[in-house]
């Protein structure tokens, strides 16, 4: 029995159709959702998402969001979402470099700063988080685009490089 699935962002409907299963990731790890799953609402991490229908697998890059599962329907409210073929690898590569440079700059700032004003530190931390998220989005996009089974493992590997 297939289940209905929608992937939506604020701007558009990215995917709508019947699927057999969906694999997503949240903080705790990867989970596969099959028809008849218990009602669930969960926060998704910036990661790849896999849809299976008619024996085929489709990959999507998700920039975080929320998943809602109700028995036979799955809705994903994604902050960003692209199918593998939609990803602009050149842009993603640029974004990766840009975020990396920004992170390095912030790291440099940190070591120089002797006086640690908590408010300033907070702001820097937030900025760092934003750049880290941007970097992760870029990495996920690149991984998905390469069809390199965009699960977190390959993303993790890339991170270490």
């Amino acid at each position: 029995m297939p289940m209905k699935c929608q992937i939506v962002t604020q701007e558009r409907l990215v995917f709508e159709g019947e699927i057999d299963s969906i694999i997503v990731r949240n903080e705790r790890g990867e989970m596969c959702i099959l028809p008849g799953h218990e009602p669930l609402i969960s926060v998704l991490t910036i990661d790849a998402l896999r849809l299976r229908h008619d024996g085929e697998e489709e990959l999507y890059a998700i920039g975080g969001g929320i998943i809602k599962v109700d028995g036979d329907s799955v809705v994903i409210l994604a902050n960003t979402a692209e199918a593998a073929y939609e990803i602009d690898t050149v842009r993603a590569e640029e974004a990766r470099k840009r975020s990396l440079a920004a992170i390095e700059r912030i790291e440099g700032m940190r070591t120089r700063q002797v006086k640690d004003i908590s408010e300033e530190a907070d702001r820097i931390q937030r900025e760092r988080d934003a750049h880290n998220a941007a970097r992760r989005r870029a990495l996920v996009r690149l991984a998905v685009a390469r069809k390199a089974d965009g699960n977190a493992a390959s993303v993790e590997n890339e991170r270490r490089v």
Binding site: Q6, N26, I41, K68
Partner: protein
């Protein structure tokens, strides 16, 4: 009385105006269509987000969330006002600004403004309103990123206690002929009640990691989405208002051209008649004097 040439010049300039207003109308029609399309494609997100808000938000959670918890004392009120950059849109900007000022009159606490769109900015400055932030131009195709930027500014103003309640004022798109300015509470967030499904049976969802984390992820995006939707509707309304205004301007210009063409014909006819009278009068005078001479000669 104007001469035929004067009238002809006026007709030409009015015809040119009609061309411009006609073109503006056509452009506005295309833009309305686009904005409507954009608003339509983001509908699934809102519906699910509203559903999620309703199923998660419980009184117990509300009290722990700054963006959800109503403040006991409202000392400062903020209004996010969405206007347009350009005029020639009928009463579009005036209506929304008047609504804002009327609203301000009714409040007991001081009101300050966050303004999107250059027109609103200049009108409010002239009316000596307290403008905290002017975001400048409204994009012709609002993006989520743009809404995100506005949402962050407003949220931090709210959490830093620069205001205790935030309202959103924009022009709702009813249809091509009708647009109405509306006011909505933006912060603290009140989950919107959908009229179609007033009571959804609450499904016992399990939450991962927990309700708080889900809400923490959802609420900022929800606020952003409300702003994004308002921007889309405002843009659609602006173009619809411009379309109507330009349509009647084109009609008026055409009516005027018709009227002027009539007076042009009259003036032209008058000129011809008077010229002919001159000629006829002249020749008549000549033949009269010949006749007189002949009479004088025969007498001799």
């Amino acid at each position: 009385m104007a001469t035929a040439r004067d009238i002809q010049l006026r007709i030409r300039s009015i015809q040119n105006i009609a061309k411009v207003t006609g073109a503006l109308e056509a452009v506005a029609a295309v833009k309305v269509h686009h904005a409507q399309q954009q608003a339509l494609s983001s509908r699934p997100y809102i519906e699910t987000a509203q559903h999620l808000m309703r199923s998660i938000v419980s009184p117990h959670l509300v009290s722990t969330f700054d963006l959800l918890k109503p403040r006991s004392e409202v000392n400062r009120i903020a209004v996010l006002l969405i206007t347009s950059d350009r005029g020639l849109a009928g009463a579009y900007n005036v209506r929304i600004v008047n609504m804002a000022l009327d609203f301000e009159q009714e409040q007991s606490a001081p009101v300050h403004y966050y303004i999107v769109g250059r027109k609103g900015q200049s009108i409010m400055a002239r009316r000596k309103a307290d403008v905290a932030v002017a975001f400048g131009d409204i994009p012709s195709r609002p993006s989520v990123d743009y809404a995100h930027g506005i949402a962050r500014v407003i949220e931090s103003a709210y959490t830093d206690r620069h205001c205790d309640i935030v309202y959103l004022l924009y022009t709702r798109f009813v249809n091509l002929i009708e647009q109405e300015p509306v006011i909505k509470q933006l912060l603290p967030v009140i989950p919107e009640q959908n009229s179609d499904s007033p009571t959804i049976p609450t499904i016992p969802y399990s939450y991962e990691p927990d309700e708080e984390a889900v809400l923490e992820e959802l609420v900022p995006h929800y606020v952003e989405n409300v702003i994004f939707q308002a921007l889309l509707e405002a843009v659609a309304s602006e173009h619809a208002a411009r379309m109507t205004a330009m349509h009647s301007a084109t009609n008026n210009a055409n009516d005027l051209v018709d009227e002027l063409t009539l007076s042009y014909n009259k003036a032209r006819q008058l000129a011809i008649t008077s010229e002919m009278l001159d000629i006829v009068g002249g020749s008549e005078a000549l033949s009269q004097s010949n006749h007189d001479q002949m009479l004088e000669g025969s007498e001799n």
